[in-house]
Symmetry: C2
Subunit: 188 residues, 2 copies
DNA sequence: CGGTAAATGGAATTTGTGTTCCATTTGATT
DNA sequence: AATCAAATGGAACACAAATTCCATTTACCG
C-alpha cells in the first residue's frame, strides 16, 4: 500500500511529503523544465523512491501539486462573483485566470494528457463559475443572449487557455483579447 | 549518411519513402493514435529501420508529413486573399483553418514540442497571410484600428488553434467564436 | 544472367522514464 | 538507552520509444 491511511505516519514522512509537493510545484512554475521524478527529487533533496512513495505514484503527486495551484484561482472566481456580481466579475477573473496560467506554464502540459482526478474536479468547478457569470450577465442584459451560455463558457475557457499558453506573448495580447471579447459579447 | 543526395536512389527506396510518408500522414489524421515509428512502419508494411532511414529520423519524417498537410491550407489562404480581398477572405479562411486542425487532431501535438523546420516555415507564411488580411481590412476601414495588427494576428492564430483543439467541441463552437470575433473586431 | 552496391527487416542497442526493492538509517515508544 | 517498525536512498528493474547494425534480399547495370 502506498499511503497507510489509518496508521500514524512518522514526522519525517509528513515533512518529506510536503517537500516533494513544494518541489513539484516549484518545477511546474518554471517553463521548459519537465517535472520528472528525478528532477523533483533533486530539488527536494530526497531520493527518487521517497518522492514516489510519498503520494503513491508520480501522477498522484502532480495531481496534488496542480490542484494546490488551481484551487486559489477557483476560489478567487467564486469570491469575485459574490462580491462584484456576474457582469463586473468576468473580466478581472479572466485576467486572473490568464495570469495564473502564464505564470505556471508547466501546468498546462499536465492539464491535458494524463487524467488527474482532483484537477479534473477543480476544472469542473471553474467551468461552473464561468458559466454562472455568463448566464448571470445574460440575465441582466449585459451581454448578448443569442449565444448558448454553455458554448460561450467553452469558448472563453479555451481561448483564455490559448492566450495564456502563447509561447512568446506579444505585448498587450491579453488586453487585446479581453477587448475583442468584451465588444464581441455586447448585444449586437 | 541518411539521404544520399547526389547518388541515384533505387526505385524501391523511393516507393517506400512515399509509403512511410502516407502512413505517417494517415496516423496524424486519427485522434488518439500516437505516430510512433513502430506504428508508422506497421501501417506502411515496412520495417522500423526502413521508415527511419527513409527520412533520416522520425522528426524529419513528421516534418514532411505535417508540411504536406499544412501546405494546401496556406495556399488556400493566399488564394482566398487574392480572390476575395482581405475583408471577405478572413472568415472563410478561419473556417478552413479550424476545420483542418480539427480534422488532423494528431498534428497539433507536433506543432509544439519538437522543432520541424518545414512546418515552422509554413506557419510563418500562414501568419503572414493572416497579418495581411488584418492590415488590409484595417486599411479599408472594415475593422477597428485601435489594435496592433500583429497582436490581432497572434490573437486570431492562437484562439483558432484553441477552438480546433477543443476535445469535445460543443455544437456551434466555431460559429460562436467567429461571431464574437467578428463583432469584437468591428469599429467600436 | 551474374555481380555488386543499395536497401531491407527486425533484433539489438540506446535513451529516458517511472517504479520496486532492500540494506541501512531514523523516529517513536517505553 | 534499547528496541523495532517505519522510512529512506539510490541501485536495479521495467518499459516504451527511437536509432543503429548487419546478415540477407533485391534492384539495377552490363
Amino acid at each position: 500500500m502506498s499511503t497507510p491511511e489509518g496508521g500514524a505516519r512518522r514526522a519525517d514522512a509528513v515533512r518529506n511529503r510536503q517537500l516533494a509537493l513544494e518541489a513539484a510545484t516549484g518545477l511546474l512554475a518554471e517553463p521548459g523544465t519537465a517535472p520528472t521524478v528525478e528532477a523533483i527529487a533533486k530539488r527536494a533533496g530526497l531520493g527518487a523512491g521517497t518522492v514516489v512513495r510519498a503520494f503513491g505514484g508520480k501522477d498522484a503527486l502532480l495531481d496534488a501539486a496542480v490542484s494546490g495551484l488551481l484551487e486559489p484561482v477557483v476560489r478567487c472566481g467564486t469570491e469575485l462573483l459574490a462580491q462584484l456580481g456576474p457582469v463586473r466579475a468576468l473580466r478581472p477573473f479572466l485576467e486572473e485566470l490568464i495570469a495564473f496560467q502564464s505564470a505556471h506554464h508547466g501546468v498546462n502540459a499536465y492539464l491535458e494528457g494524463v487524467d488527474l482526478p482532483a484537477v479534473t474536479a477543480l476544472r469542473t468547478e471553474l467551468v461552473a463559475v464561468v458559466h454562472e457569470m455568463i448566464t448571470g450577465a445574460q440575465a441582466e442584459g449585459a451581454i448578448r443572449t443569442d449565444l448558448d451560455p454553455a458554448v460561450v463558457t467553452t469558448l472563453i475557457g479555451r481561448t483564455a487557455y490559448a492566450i495564456a499558453r502563447t509561447p512568446a506573448p506579444a505585448e498587450g495580447l491579453t488586453d487585446a483579447y479581453l477587448t475583442v471579447l468584451t465588444d464581441g459579447l455586447r448585444r449586437p
